[in-house]
Symmetry: D2
Subunit: 372 residues, 4 copies
């Protein structure tokens, strides 16, 4: 008998949301979970309309109503997990409430605005013994997982230097003033918390720490707002010192005209190096010291652990949706009581601390600051 | 209210099938259809077991039983369409039967073994006014659609020359003798009809004719079986003459060690050229005569019609699943009575004629033959 | 004491010649030879003027005068070799005369127009015991030499299939009618002998046979003139059968809009494959069967014999000039009585036979023809 | 009549020197200058032996002797210029002496160890009205010149952000302790002045300022020595603030296993962006805002000023030697009294100041420092 199809509810992600649809498609891909409930917008009207469009029976006008309505359901009716995909400032309250009500929760990144909030969520999940996952979706790419495995296996020797970049160009002009929905909330300090740092810098930070297995100990950040009138950062460069003497350079920018979604990581160790680029995600470059660059592919003989996160034969490209879905497969496994790999609340808390350290360095004009 | 979720049944595609799972994931991605019935294997036992694993309620031991069982259902219970993903030799009978019973049918490629069978299916579909689609899935890539649009728009001027390749390496040894399931039936002339020609050559032929908008008028094929003991072709090179003086070179091979799923097309016209490679599908190269190569991307400003087949922002890679799903979206639209683009039975019949012409040329040691 | 600087004379290659200047720069690069004499144009006036511009003391109005004048010189004054870079139709006479006069000769490709002429030159060189080299310059690339070495070493197992392409786009319109010097003589059947076949097809043929170590046994060619009014071929596709069952597809075209100088070769054997592209010449792709693609570089640990044809450290790009110069280094070594690798008169004769076989196939509408 | 062939002498660059041979080949390529004198090593014996190997008649045991011997020559015998390619610490004295003696001088980079020395050389050249050139050879690439032209033309709008990298891996282990000649002097603080900063960081600095046309105003550098026992830096990351609000990230490293000679620059402005990579130097990527990435090639229609520094048709790769030769062509033109583009003593002085600022920041644990 096949595995039971899980039931989930969604907070946020209604009409016009980009990320809500991504979560739904990623979940649908493998047929392991089905959406049954939702409070899909902060506007009651849009929430109900969005639910109708999705054919949702258990539609709510607010997440508080959803919490109340769903908490009383039991057995086969009970939600297995809740997905929170609201703008950043509206993560904390519903995530905390659903965790405390005993629901597994998957929350978009960055987790919250302050380290204190982050710690509170981690604590809440632990208290109830439920999953708190943060969708650092790039961690789901098979070749990213393989990269981390290569580093962990010692194939690179001691990690010395890493370069991680996340460059986009879509915010090179003040499109947030034109009513573009995706840009508008991202450029509002109250809703977003930070600009490029929160939106994409945390992805870069997660990629860096996940692949290298290192902690950021201190950093020095040059935080810039290039677009006149913008109220959040749109370009950041960070020098990073990690444990065991490793160093890194992390840059994120949303004013890099010519870049679409250019996330990449390169790691150089004493015995080898690797490079991965999100826009060509099925390939991982690996070069042993004094050896020849090898193009490891998702479906090839050196895919390693990446092969476990793969659905298609070699040369049949997988992409963003599949990586996202891999994060969910990890969550589903955990919910079913099996081993599951996915970014946790702790990872999310680390991202929040990274943002704060960068903003602290910026306040002090690029001084070095310790990261807790 | 959202669009009604369609219901479908599947013939073939049970446990161990690669392509059946691909169809199911592609269909699931957009949440527009749900699998409710199936005769998933030619072995009754495996068919029933596979249905259980998928949680299918309406499980059948044979497609004939499924035809009988499903034909009697009406209203909301009625199947909207049937997907046939059996090995090639077992396409004809169920496709014909379901078409004649008034079901829309989606069949994997190559459609059938003979031009006569192909014509019969096209006729059957027309007679009942139902859809017959053939999953030339590569036609669903946004940048392939954009390529065809560029040619049709005249951006390349008069097409002179095209190069289309489909090179794989996984059959470079006689793995069909080792029990590898995917290889075994493909290398059996009775089940597969042809070797690389049917398995991948028809994809190349479809890509060529779809993108250039030209017909193959005559061809000369060097058909080879490189692997000792193999009973079907595993490498083919074809010189092609098309209407209006255009020419092409089509090569397909499954013994190209080093190639994973290397399908590509390059078209050169009097005013410009284009190139697309399946393993990096989000990019289309376009060069105007006396101009500069432009890297058109799926999400960029020159995506044209490709933008209509896109789910994600620029730089968020889409791949094989999404292209496959795009073919289904065309079918779904057609079923719903809207405009829908997808490869039809006629396209499938053309592929069958291409295979036959190549084999005819091979029999005559590479002579030129006309293609009807 | 350093090696003696050789002296050479040049026939053709005066003002406005592209290839003459290339030869001179390639020879100058390593400081092993110096130009001292020349009959640089078929026009006496331009010949003398070109010699003045180059500061040549021993200037001649015709190659016959140069032959006469230089034959009488001896000792340190004596020319070590003569370079013939006239248009194709004017190769035969001076090459033959200088060979018979006991000079080593380096001739541009294609060697001559007919197999009979080619054989006569080979015979003449042998009779006098002098070098006859043909500047198939692409054979001088370190990674091409490494490719041939890999095949010869058995790293690819038995060669099954090769793809060789030489695609340019600069003749996509009838620029020969506009007075463009490079295009004008190339499009004149009397001067050029053939069109794309002679100009670039022979380079492709040489690359194919050099890298694979195989002979062409028979072929079938589709020879096309796409540009209205043009009197020579501008696009050719050839199916090739080689010894030991190997097969190849060779295409050359000068109407491939979007291509600059796109020469490439891919070879697939039973145990591995390789790929090399002239426009990125410092890299050779090698993939063992069931292994991972390795990017062998000119300066890297797997450069093999290629390292002997390299002047710069890894990552310092070498290009066309250096490859050309490598051919000359082979000639110089031979002249000095050392071992030297370079394309010989026999290689040139094979190229002439290849052209003839293609034109013969074309006359018979693409029939298969044997190659002697 | 052709231009007079210039005469030059060389200080340093004897047997075993990498860069001396590069200078000689680059100069030879165009046949505009010929080596006639040299003091090729700091060891008298090796100097004389090296001169013999090169067939040099005017051989000297020390640069002081060469200065004396050559200063007395006049007319056609007189040296037109002197090339100084000694290890860094031995640049200052001979450059100054030859300048003061009225010779044009070409000096390798980094020019000298201190800003004071640099200023003195610039002053000396000005005093005698002679050329002082510094071989920032990467500035000679046609596509680098085109990049600078694009920025200067306003095609990128206002420059906001630049990323410049120079990553090598050959010093990832302590090969300087093994007697490797190239590594040995580079790792000696007295001879080299700095490590990666001087050897490659200055190239990166020159590329950054040349292409962007901006000045470095302040910087913050994390300077690291990763290899145990090494006495100079081998990895540096620098955050840079330039005039007009532009910012940059410059990284140089010689412990980046997997990198050969990976120099690259990316510039993002308000209206467009560009990217260039030294290992694939014939291509320049340009993307207008809201436009499509264009692959500008050295020989293509958008080559702009780059076309003036090109010797070969499109698709015929040029590389490191040609770029180096282009710097010399600029020097030759200037010597002949024509317009000539090349990096000057002032550029060299700026590089020295950059090194000093980075080392100053390093001393203060990565603090921001002003650059004069």
């Amino acid at each position: 008998m096949g595995a039971r199809v899980l039931k989930y509810g969604m907070v946020g992600g209604g009409a016009g949301s980009f990320i809500g649809a991504v979560h739904r498609r990623a979940i649908a891909l493998d047929g392991q979970a089905t959406l049954v409930a939702g409070a899909l917008s902060s506007s009651r009207e849009r929430a109900m309309e969005s639910a109708r469009e999705l054919g949702l029976e258990r539609a709510y006008g607010t997440w508080e109503e959803m919490l109340k309505g769903e908490s009383s359901r039991t057995g086969a009716e009970r939600l297995d997990f809740v997905v929170v995909v609201t703008p950043n400032h509206a993560h904390y309250a519903p995530v905390k409430a659903f965790l405390e009500a005993g629901f597994h929760v998957v929350c978009d990144k960055p987790l919250v605005h302050t380290p204190e909030e982050a710690d509170a969520l981690v604590k809440a999940a632990k208290a109830r013994g439920v999953v708190l996952a943060v969708t650092y979706n790039y961690s789901g790419y098979p070749m990213v997982r393989r990269a981390a495995e290569l580093v962990a296996s010692g194939a690179l020797g001691t990690v010395r230097k890493a370069f991680v970049e996340y460059h986009q160009g879509w915010l090179a002009t003040a499109i947030e003033t034109s009513g573009q929905k995706q840009a508008s909330w991202r450029a509002d300090p109250k809703l977003a918390g930070a600009g490029s740092l929160g939106d994409i810098g945390t992805h870069a930070e997660n990629l860096l720490t996940m692949v290298t297995g290192k902690r950021i100990e201190s950093l020095c950040a040059d935080v810039t707002t290039f677009v006149p009138g913008r109220r959040v950062d749109d370009d950041v460069a960070v020098l990073i010192r990690m444990n065991d003497g490793a160093k890194a350079v992390l840059t994120c920018s949303q004013v890099c005209v010519g870049c679409e979604n250019s996330l990449s990581i390169r790691v150089h160790g004493t015995e080898g190096s690797l490079a991965w680029r999100q826009e060509n995600p099925n390939v991982l470059e690996f070069t042993p010291r004094d050896g020849t660059l090898r193009m490891i592919t998702r479906g090839g003989p050196e895919a390693g652990v990446g092969a476990k996160s793969t659905r298609l034969p070699p040369g049949h490209p997988e992409g963003f949706h599949e990586a996202f879905a891999n994060v969910y497969l990890g969550v589903f496994a955990k919910i079913r009581g099996e081993a599951g790999v996915f970014p946790t609340g702790e990872d999310g808390a680390r991202g929040v601390r990274f943002i704060h350290a960068c903003l602290e360095s910026a306040k002090r004009d690029g001084a070095w600051v310790k990261v807790k």
